[in-house]
Amino acid sequence: MSNVYEARENDSREDATGLLHATIDNFPGGICVLDNDLTMLVTNRKFYELLDLSEDMFPAGSNLEGVFRYNAHRGEYGPGDPEEKVRERLSHVRRFEEHRFDREVGTGLVIEMRSAPKPGGGSVLTYLDVTINRRAEQALLRHKETLEELVSLRTEEIERQAEELRRLLDQERHINELQRQFVTMTSHEFRTPLAIIDGAAQRLQRRRHAVTSEFVEEKAGLIRGAVSRMVDLMESFLSAGRIEHGNMTYEFRPCSLREVIERCVARQQSIAATHRFHLELNNLPPVVVADTVAMEQVFSNLISNAVKYAPVSPDIYITGYSDAGSACVTVADTGVGIDADDLPKMFQRYFRARSSTGIAGTGIGLNLVKQIVEAHKGNISLESRKARGSTFTVTLPITNPMLTAAECGEAKAG
């Protein structure tokens, strides 16, 4: 509802018209008043300016249809048949309904166009330059989209980090659990030979008035066996520690694997009297270049494992042969075997297969074996089936490639 100050009685009609023109021309938007046959009754300067039209071509009194046709032909309404565009616009504007829309015109301005029905027919069209507003809205929208994209990227990143943290935490828990088991089993592993030593000593004390030399001999043998077991255990721990800290040193010299294996078997045989060792070592090369002490650790671990994890299957097969410049030794048992999904983890430190339940062990032996074999540029592989037994194959180069000029001497393992 507009307010108009009533013209005084003595004001002339010309004055009123002048006032109207002044108002319309100074209005900051474009104005075009149509009668019901679309004749442009009133237009203002801004109307021509915003729509980029010449007042001379379309003065007040001309028909809007001319504007439509002119615009359609100069491409203002987009591609397509210009007459079709003109028809569309005419039918739309002739409804004389209230409506509003934005259009980007040829000059690049965004114009908000409104139409309102005029009392007595026709309509009043107004045009506002909303370029700045729309540009700002679009910028806001783009900013919002950028923000959303950023948020979603950051969310993804955070989720990835959370996932990584969860994975690390699981890993940490897993390592803690392995270490807890390791501590428990290490204590167990030391207490067992201690129990033998202490038990034998107590038996000697209790019989002190009636001991025979056989009795003393037998108990002393038990004590010495248990002591050597503890020494082996300590050596494994020390070697594992040295390997972990990268200061394990090897003395590479000609070494007879056959002698090493026979010594390990003899030692095992004295502990595990019920097991039968089937040795086939004739095809082994007479010597390889290796550290004899380390080789004893490798084979004593593999052979004692074969016995330990085959408590009721007494046959252990140890076979040696040469293959393409390498010495190969397989140690096979027909014991508890290993579940297929435990196989890839068998050489990880502290890992113990599910099938080892009830069998004492610390989980460092096979890891130590693998590290020693690899320090000799060899490799170790494992085949196993649950409840069928396991076969370990150690392959060692006959002449160690780490040694060039000096056949004998020390080499430091990284």
Binding site: S187, R191, D198, G199, R203, G358, A360
Partner: protein, 133 residues
């Protein structure tokens, strides 16, 4: 005559135990894993079981649970666990399940024999009262 079953997978330890226990005047039975022990418990009804925990085939906890759950008439046989597992978890598991005692290796034979004598004394008083077997 009291019969004591020694369940132990380490031959050397089992031999020492059997020597000590039989020298004290008991009849001994031997098993090197839980499965063998279960057969002997069912077949020979020992009076007391001295039992290791870490053993292949069937460990000491599993053996004890099996006897408790599936052999009601044998569930009263006292189990003295004698193990190198010195952690609290294993001890709690065994004692909660009803073990007569839990000893860790290396064990003082005086202490082990005292525990066995204690079980024997209880068995005898139960028998006088007609409570068991």
């Amino acid at each position: 005559m009291i019969t004591i079953l020694c369940v132990e997978d380490e031959d050397d330890i089992r031999n020492l135990l059997v020597e000590e226990i039989s020298e004290a005047g008991f009849t001994t039975l031997e098993a090197s894993n839980g499965k063998q022990a279960l057969e002997l418990i069912i077949g020979k009804w020992p009076d007391i079981v001295v039992c290791d925990i870490t053993m292949p085939e069937m460990n000491g906890h599993q053996l004890f649970a099996e006897v408790q759950m599936n052999h009601e008439q044998l569930a009263n046989i006292p189990f003295i666990f004698l193990t190198a597992l010195s952690d609290k978890d294993n001890m709690v598991t065994a004692l909660k399940a009803g073990a007569a005692d839990y000893l860790t290796k290396p064990v003082d034979f005086d202490l082990l024999m005292a525990k066995i004598q204690g079980c024997v004394a209880r068995l005898e008083s139960d028998r006088k009262l007609g409570r068991a077997f």
